[in-house]
Symmetry: C2
Subunit: 233 residues, 2 copies
């Protein structure tokens, strides 16, 4: 009856690839695996909403998650995209605040839920885990600070070019230089912090300048140094 609920494969439930857990003792790792709950989530699924109380954090072993805040008039501001090997929801959990973002699946994903209790256990039990966690948050904070500076000082054109390059860094390209993440124009606008129409116009301009090639949502990079120049890097 319930065989439409797909279970993740063993491989998709494996957390050994996560740097964060590398320094755990066998005992700690066993407890982690005992506690985790892994599921497959379809595109469009909301994992948690802004303002909700979280019970744990998620390790992503497959797929892409969009993390965003809802601003003025419900317009979303995308904070980050999280992919395989990354964790989400840990920020609100650690600071014991309500979630300040919403997380939505944009590419079929497998996530392992780790309870707050286990998170606290690991922090108490293993200083190297805490240290690693601190490094993760600190890096994310730097990225946020960098982005504040960009968004405050750069033009929309520069920001769009930069966002394309950032996406390239995070999601890489296939052998034809095509970006391996599929975003709507509106989503691009919600990263850059601009109107959808502006993104459309600027993308056309980038295309005319032979910086990129467009095919629906597929974006192919033709001239990366040129984009870097536009981005003012």
């Amino acid at each position: 009856m319930r065989n439409n609920i797909i279970r993740p494969t063993e491989e998709e439930m494996d957390l050994s690839g996560f740097q964060l857990f590398k320094k755990l003792t066998e005992e700690e790792y066993t407890r982690l695996n005992y506690d985790k709950t892994c599921s497959v989530y379809k595109k469009g699924t909301v994992l948690y909403r802004e303002g909700s109380r979280l019970t744990g954090f998620y390790c992503i072993t497959k797929g892409i998650i969009k993390v965003y805040k809802t601003g003025i008039d419900g317009k979303e501001q995308i904070i980050r995209f999280a992919k395989k090997g990354e964790i989400i929801a840990y920020r609100s959990l650690l600071s014991q605040e309500l979630a300040c973002t919403t997380a939505k699946v944009i590419e079929e994903a497998v996530l392992c839920h780790i309870s707050y209790q286990t998170l606290l256990f690991l922090i108490q039990s293993n200083w190297q885990f805490s240290h690693h966690m601190l490094q993760i948050v600190c890096r994310e904070l730097r990225e946020a600070n960098d982005y504040i500076t960009d968004i405050a000082q750069k033009t929309v054109r520069e920001r769009l070019a930069e966002v394309l390059l950032l996406l390239k860094e995070n999601f890489e390209l296939d052998n034809q230089n095509t970006l391996q993440i599929s975003l709507t124009r509106e989503e691009l606008a919600n990263i850059v912090g601009t109107a959808t129409e502006s993104v459309i116009r600027l993308l056309s301009e980038f295309k005319q300048d032979n910086l990129i090639e467009l095919q629906g949502r597929k974006i192919k990079f033709l001239n990366i140094p040129g984009l870097q120049r536009v981005a003012n890097l």
Copy 2:
């Protein structure tokens, strides 16, 4: 000969007020005090610069520090103001990156320097310290994410009103409702992410609308709910 170098008072060297150190054992606290180096810094002093390698973090026991990034054409983007009871420089230290911000004294300050070695010792020795540190970074990350959303979606007018209110929260008012931090118009512009002239024009408008009163750099709040409405909160 060197009596122009002012030494901090005992009170100014006391770290017992810091929440962060509340859970230390007597031994750990002793080591912390043994390691710390406290000094008085005059207004205008640069504590560290973007790109430099840090040797420790600072606890502020007095004064105000401006933390900013240098963006396009050397235009500064203010990331935060840190005051008594707060710590700075810990982010780059923990993630073991070069400093991504510059820190400058804008109100005569006393800071205690704690070495990286001691920071690591505390992380290894006391999980509650790590946990507290994690909470501090996570809160700062939330604030950064909030600010990204604001700066990306709000008008300059809304942002300026919001920044005034944020400053009010962080630095409070005297008994005449006057903000207890003195900033140049340019600095205000560098928080909001706009041009100095825009700040000047908008402040005049706020004044005309009887939201605030201006006397040089002193800003007196006349109508806080009104400002909140302008800020679109």
